[in-house]
Amino acid sequence: MNLDFSDEQKQLREQVRRFLSENCTSETVRAILEGPESYDKKLYQGLAELGVLGAAIPEEYGGVGLGHLELCVVAEELGRVLAPVPVSSSIYLTAEFLMLAGTEKQKETWLPKLAAGEAIGAFAYAEGQGRMSPAKIKATVSGGKLKGTKSPVADGDVADIAVVAAKNEKGQVSLYLVDLSAKGVSRETLESIDPTRSQARLTFDGAPAELLGTEGDGWHIASQVLDRAAVLMAFEQVGGADRSLEIARDYALERMAFGRPIGSFQAIKHILADMYVSATLARSNCYYGAWALNSGAAEFPVAAATARVSATTAFQHCAKNNIQVHGGMGFTWAFDCHLYYRRSNALAVALGSLSTWESQLIERMSAGNAETAA
């Protein structure tokens, strides 16, 4: 039994952590929060040069050819420092879509650019309010031309290409690769609870759309890729949860009230202990998700939903209580607590909200259970 990362993977973690400690500080994140840019270009380029964007992309497509476990390690580190870069959109989603469903030509064209950080990808499937389902998709493709509006699209304002879920002429959900610099594409950056990661509305009016994967198979492909991305995002969330706990713990050791450090009060100590519990449960569930992702186990869909539900719950729990432990100081702009609070709530609804994943987890468990019984 070895439910742990290898020594090489742990070395990679150290390397990424060192790089991020120099290149992604609180100031880096705040520059995106308060400034006009949608992401930190220098940081993103640095990550590309470090080889981490291409960690799970095969060498023949310009990647490093390591694997998904290495990408999990990277994701956790990015989550710890709230890296304001489009890694999830470009790597966990777009690159995974290409690797799973792309033609040889599509892979050759785009994967090397994604790995090198020369191009950014985004996944456009949501269309406004409400939980996603195939019935909600109104965007259409007819004669290779895409029409419709997608919102919100993470990193849609800076992406070069998008994987778009739309209905074909027969009304079946299919996926299309769309060059966002083409005619018939307009985009607008949207305000959100977490400006350190950008959100956009993409409007398509006859933009050229190239089929990605089998026609009519779009929802199925999307669901498989969302499961992969869910595990990777869950690692970001565990990183964020752990860091929120550390920040709260450090403050509880330093802040004095009533003549003693506030961490000596059980009211504070027990909040921190509960944060440790939820972060630990989430980490263990994420290791299970990582194992299933990497090994291609049949139970992967259950493992992915398990990791995702647990990590979303933990990050929200730790980020909100980080503010609580800080008291009034935690609600100032100057302290970083709100950055984690923002990110935890933004990630909680990305790739399908918590209640969606909760429902999927139980649906998958009951399907598996019925199969076992049959």
Binding site: M1, N2, L3, D4, F5, S6, L69, L245, R249, A252, L253, R260, P261, G263, S264, F265, Q266, K269, H270, L272, A273, D274, Y276, V277, T280, L281, A282, S284, N285, Y287, Y288, A290, W291, N294, S295, A305, T306, V309, S310, T313, S355, W357, E358, S359, L361, I362, E363, M365, S366, N369, A370
Partner: protein, 419 residues
């Protein structure tokens, strides 16, 4: 990352599996699988005798007390081998639950503090299940604050060197059938509370020992009160020095927290099965979105505990010391079981109030509901566990102890102001 055994582990597992298959009391399996909360489920024969028989069989083949050295009747196996044994023994382990306190806590304390002669006399029969031990620590007025205990040990005035014990213990599992007890007493009330304690081991058949079962809130009686009236203990049965009892007790309590990867029950598999069968407006309950959200949160707690245990086992497998993650086990399992049982009753509607032959799964959820408050208190309450996580794992400062430097006899005993 994988869940595979190393070749050595696989070989050991095969050996264990073959032995258990050939030797386990299979005729009891059905009853053991029906075990409920607070009993091992055996009704067709005396459950204690069945436990002793299984322990004896294991001891004869070298499978008893795997973590103990051989000279004291143990198996001298590695921690990972012990984990594998536990996985393979499965439901049969419930049979020997009466030895858990002796093997896990009293035995290691005797091993650390008793004379060689006593170790050779006491430990082998404990390992082989001939004797049962209990732990006489908690008192009515000292639970979480164990060091506030009041049971007195005073030197006999006859020059024998013996100690005379008077007082009362409570929450003693198995006292009614135990041969020996590990007893912590107060020998000096004039010094601060931690400094006036002394540990002994006691023959439970000694004159003046009276065991009375406690009727618990759930109607069962798995714990006892033990009263001591002028009970005489020879000084040779003292463990550690006079006044060193607190230090000795820490050996016992440390061992309480060393059980790894045992995976405490949360009741989730039972709840999930129930939700597959129960109906809400003609549909399986598992299709209801509210039910799904609740179930999913219980599911990730269950699996989080399972994989936390596996991370600890992974460390053992590599010969490393597991991290502090396992300290969350009882804290999560106890609270989850309580919430989960309330939810199961909720799904039963008005009939959730019933605890009879109509209740789903033989009233298991009602049993969980009524037993789970104890899980959140016994062996370290939720609040003590949170203090431990806060202080030992997260490095937070301890609380201010107002009784720290006060002689024990001067510590207030009532929260009410005297008028």
């Amino acid at each position: 990352m994988d869940f595979k055994d190393t070749p050595q582990e696989a070989a050991f597992r095969a050996e264990v599996r073959a032995w258990i298959d050939a030797n386990a009391p299979k005729h009891l399996l059905e009853e053991l699988n029906r075990a409920s909360f607070g009993s091992n489920g055996v009704v067709s024969e005396d459950p204690i005798a069945a436990g002793k028989a299984w322990q004896k069989k294991k001891a004869e083949a070298g499978w008893a007390c795997l973590h103990w050295p051989k000279e004291y009747g143990g198996g001298a196996r590695t921690p990972i081998e012990r984990v594998i044994w536990g996985q393979e023994e499965g439901p049969y382990a419930a049979l020997t639950g009466v030895f858990t306190i002796g093997h896990g806590m009293c035995g290691p304390t005797v091993m650390a503090w008793a004379s060689e002669e006593h170790k050779r006399k006491l430990l082998p029969p404990l390992a082989s299940g001939e004797t049962i031990w209990c732990q006489l620590f908690s008192e009515p007025a000292s639970g979480s604050d164990l060091a506030g205990l009041r049971t007195r040990a005073v030197k006999a005035d006859d020059g024998s060197g013996d100690w005379i014990i008077n007082g009362q213990k409570i929450w003693t599992s198995g006292a009614q059938y135990s041969d020996w007890g590990l007893l912590i007493t107060r020998t000096n009330p004039d010094v601060p509370k931690h400094k006036g304690l002394t540990m002994f081991f006691l023959d439970m058949k000694s004159p003046g020992v009276e065991v009375r079962p406690i009727k618990q809130a759930n109607g069962q009686s798995s714990f006892n009160e033990v009263y001591f009236t002028d009970v005489r203990i020879p000084d040779s049965q003292r463990l550690g020095e006079v006044g060193q009892g607190w230090e000795v007790s820490l050996t016992t309590l440390m061992n309480e927290r060393l059980s790894i990867g045992s995976g405490m029950s949360t009741g989730f598999p039972e709840l999930f099965r129930f939700c597959m069968e129960a109906e809400i407006e003609g549909e399986p309950a598992v299709r209801d979105s509210g039910v799904r959200s609740k179930l999913a949160q219980f599911a990730v707690k269950q699996s989080g505990l399972k994989y936390t245990g596996m991370r600890a086992i992974s460390a053992l497998s590599k010969g490393e010391v597991p991290g502090p993650e396992n300290s969350i086990g009882k804290l999560v399992a106890g609270a989850t079981m309580q919430e989960l049982s309330m939810f199961a009753l909720d799904l039963q509607g008005e009939a959730g109030v019933l605890w009879n032959e109509e209740s789903p799964q033989q009233g298991r959820f009602q049993a969980m509901l009524m037993r789970s408050p104890a899980t959140r208190i016994e062996g370290g309450s939720d609040e003590i566990l949170r203090n431990i996580i806060g202080e030992r794992v997260l490095g937070l400062p301890g609380d201010i102890r107002v009784d720290k430097d006060v002689p024990f006899k001067d510590i207030p005993t009532s929260g009410r102001k005297k008028h």
